[in-house]
Structure formats: structure tokens, C-alpha cells
């Protein structure tokens, strides 16, 4: 499925064609899953995909069928990605459920490759605690014990690190953008 065909399906959806729309969303979903799996902790991926699909739905009138569909989809996915990272900052101090990443541990640790690369641009204490708490699923106290930082410093470093990350991403329009999807 070429991105151009997705554009044609969206144009049909804009005219009210429910069948074309259902097919389009069904084909976009795996692309979104891959997109967020590389950029978010596993526990956030499904929610991010759903939010992106709702955003695509509510903002479908902003797609101009005369223009390519790929960059439009990638821009919405990226906007919701940054939104998610900001939300992670707000919940930085929340205790995470015990079952996070269980059953798919290898993917959990290695999948968010874009996020991992971005973390490398932060100060080491910030990157370390974000990786431990947000990607590996440790509690604030466990991360504090592992790094020697106090629990409140862990929270501050997560908050500041994520704030820095989202500010940097928002200021760079093309940073981390996924290639235009040629295949669904």
C-alpha cells in the first residue's frame, strides 16, 4: 500500500465514505505502532496510537488531498509523540504498575530506540533516571538506590530532562521525523 493510496482513502473519507475510512485506519495503525514503539516506553504505545487515531479523525479536514499524505500523517504522529513525552513529565512522580513490560521484556528495554538516542543528548544524571524509571519500569525509590540520587532529585531530574527533551523537539521541526510511509 503506497502512501498515495492512503491519501486517496482519506479523500474518500472526507466525503463520508466509511468503508474507505475503516480500511485507512486499519492500515495506518501498524505504522503508528511501529512509530511509537521506537519513541515511547512500551506502556505508553497503545494509548499514543489511540490518541493519534483520534487526532487524525478530529483533524481530518486539515488534510488537503492535493498534497502528499505521508508528511501530514507523520506531523500528526510527531505532535502526539511530543504531547506524550510532556504527559510523562506530569506523571513523573507517579508509582508505575508492577506489570509494566512483563512478558515482552526484551522489546521493552530495546525498542524505544529513537527515545534512547535522544536521551543521550541530555545530562547523564537526567538521562539515567529517565531510562530507569520510564523505560525500564523501576520505581522512584529503586532508581534513587541504583543511582545514589535522592528520590526528590530523581523526580526533579526526570521532570527537567523531559522538559528539555520536549522543548528541544518542539523547536526542531524535522527532528526525529519518520520516513514517509511507503508501505502500510
Amino acid at each position: 500500500m503506497a502512501a498515495a493510496e492512503w491519501g486517496a482513502l482519506m479523500a474518500a473519507a472526507q466525503s463520508g465514505h466509511g468503508g474507505a475510512y475503516r480500511r485507512l485506519l486499519g492500515e495506518i495503525r501498524p505504522w503508528l505502532l511501529r512509530y511509537y514503539a521506537r519513541r515511547l516506553p512500551p506502556s505508553c504505545v497503545d494509548d499514543a496510537v489511540q490518541e493519534a487515531m483520534i487526532a487524525i479523525h478530529t483533524k481530518r479536514a486539515t488534510f488537503d488531498p492535493a498534497r502528499p499524505f505521508g508528511p501530514w500523517l507523520a506531523a500528526i504522529a510527531r505532535y502526539k509523540w511530543i504531547d506524550r513525552l510532556r504527559a510523562m513529565k506530569r506523571t513523573a512522580a507517579d508509582a508505575l504498575p508492577e506489570d509494566i513490560a512483563v512478558g515482552d521484556h526484551e522489546t521493552a528495554v530495546t525498542s524505544a530506540s529513537v527515545l534512547t538516542a535522544l536521551l543521550a543528548t541530555l545530562k547523564t544524571p537526567q538521562a539515567t533516571v529517565i531510562r530507569l524509571v520510564k523505560l525500564d519500569g523501576l520505581s522512584i525509590e529503586e532508581a534513587a538506590a541504583a543511582t545514589g540520587q535522592s528520590p526528590s532529585l530523581v523526580k526533579v531530574n526526570i521532570h527537567r530532562g523531559l522538559a528539555r527533551l520536549t522543548a528541544r523537539l518542539a523547536a526542531l521541526p524535522d527532528a526525529g521525523s519518520e520516513p514517509v510511509p511507503d508501505h502500510g
Binding site: Q14, Y21, D64
Partner: protein
């Protein structure tokens, strides 16, 4: 999770209604229509400054009117372009900052050419200056409301940038409307009081619009 996703897709597809896709041209025409309505309403309510024919012979009057119009046009173009999720307002904002700098520099030149040495305080005429701020801000609000509505319908992926452009556009447009009636043509006076008004409207836009248009 796949079941949830299927349920979501089903509900979105079942509730699908036809939409008319937005284009920058359509948004620009909607804004232009509002601009015509606002100018007409302003002329009906307050009329033009009485010395308009004489003022039109002054370089300073044209500096004020044309500079504000250029800023408004760049601002509106930038704000509307930013409502496309795949477009960034940053280049437009840089152009806007450049145009504002040129405006001030040309104003300084126009001012220097006058050779006047009147007292600075008298020239600034702060009592009228505060009125000017209120009028420019007031005239900017309809344009700001219109741009906020367009922004809600659009999908700005740089909401702060789009809001800043919308604020600059609305403020400059408010200045253009007030030019019909404002009796002051002193570049120093315009730079100070219109400048303050523009900063106020941009501040309002920057704070309020991203919250009002969040998606």
C-alpha cells in the same frame, strides 16, 4: 489491545461525517472578509481622522500605514500556513521579526529627516499614547478571535509559534484599522505606543491561544 483498537476504528468509521477540507486560500479569504467588516464597522462608529487628506501627503503617515499592513500580511500568512500540521511558522516568524526591525529603522530615518527637536516628553504625549494602546488592542481583538477560530479548525503542530504569528498579525491589523482615525504621525510616538500595544496582543495570543486551540 487489538480489540480496543478495532472498537475505536469501528466507532470512528461509524460516526464519520463528510468534511470540507481546509485550504490556506479559504482561510485567508475568511480573514479578508472579517477585515473588510471591521474596517467598515470602525468607519461607521468613529469615522476617519478629519485631516486625512493632509495626512496622506506626509511620509510618516504612509510609513505607519504601509509598515503595519506589511506586518499584518506577513503575520496572517504565517499564522494560516502554520495551521497545516506539516508546516512550521518559524520561517515566517523570522520574516516578521526582520520586517519589524526594518519598520523601526525606516521610522528612525523618517524621524531624522524631519529635523524636529521638540521635547521628548511632549512628543510622546503619554495621555494620548495610552488611549492609542487601548484602541490598537481593541481593534486587534476581532482579528485575534477570527485567527483563534481558524486555529481551532486547523491543526498547528507548533501551537506557540502559530499563536505568536496570530498575535503579531492581529496586533498589526488592529494598528492598520486604527490608522484610519489616529491623528498621530510622529514615528517616535508610533514606535513606542503601537509597539507596546503589539507586544500586549502578542502576549495575550501566546498565553491564551495554545490553551484554547489544544488538540
Amino acid at each position: 489491545m487489538a480489540d480496543n483498537a478495532d472498537a475505536l476504528i469501528d466507532s470512528l468509521a461509524a460516526g464519520l461525517t463528510p468534511v470540507r477540507y481546509r485550504t490556506a486560500t479559504r482561510d485567508a479569504l475568511a480573514f479578508a472578509a472579517l477585515a473588510v467588516v471591521e474596517v467598515t464597522a470602525y468607519l461607521a462608529l468613529r469615522g476617519m481622522r478629519p485631516d486625512m487628506p493632509a495626512a496622506m501627503g506626509e511620509m510618516a503617515f504612509w510609513w505607519k500605514a504601509v509598515s503595519l499592513l506589511v506586518l499584518a500580511v506577513i503575520g496572517v500568512a504565517t499564522a494560516i500556513a502554520a495551521l497545516d500540521p506539516a508546516r512550521s511558522p518559524r520561517r515566517g516568524l523570522r520574516a516578521l521579526a526582520g520586517a519589524a526591525a526594518v519598520t523601526v529603522a525606516v521610522g528612525w530615518g523618517v524621524d531624522a529627516a524631519r529635523g524636529g527637536s521638540a521635547d521628548l516628553i511632549a512628543r510622546l504625549d503619554w495621555r494620548h499614547g495610552i488611549d492609542c494602546i487601548a484602541f490598537v488592542v481593541g481593534c486587534a481583538l476581532p482579528a485575534l478571535a477570527a485567527l483563534a477560530i481558524l486555529m481551532r479548525r486547523g491543526a498547528a503542530t507548533d501551537p506557540r509559534g502559530a499563536a505568536t504569528a496570530a498575535g503579531a498579525a492581529a496586533a498589526a491589523w488592529g494598528g492598520v484599522v486604527f490608522t484610519l482615525d489616529c491623528p498621530h504621525d510622529d514615528p517616535l510616538y508610533i514606535a513606542v505606543w503601537f509597539g507596546i500595544a503589539i507586544v500586549i496582543v502578542m502576549g495575550i495570543a501566546r498565553i491564551a491561544l495554545p490553551r484554547l486551540t489544544r488538540w
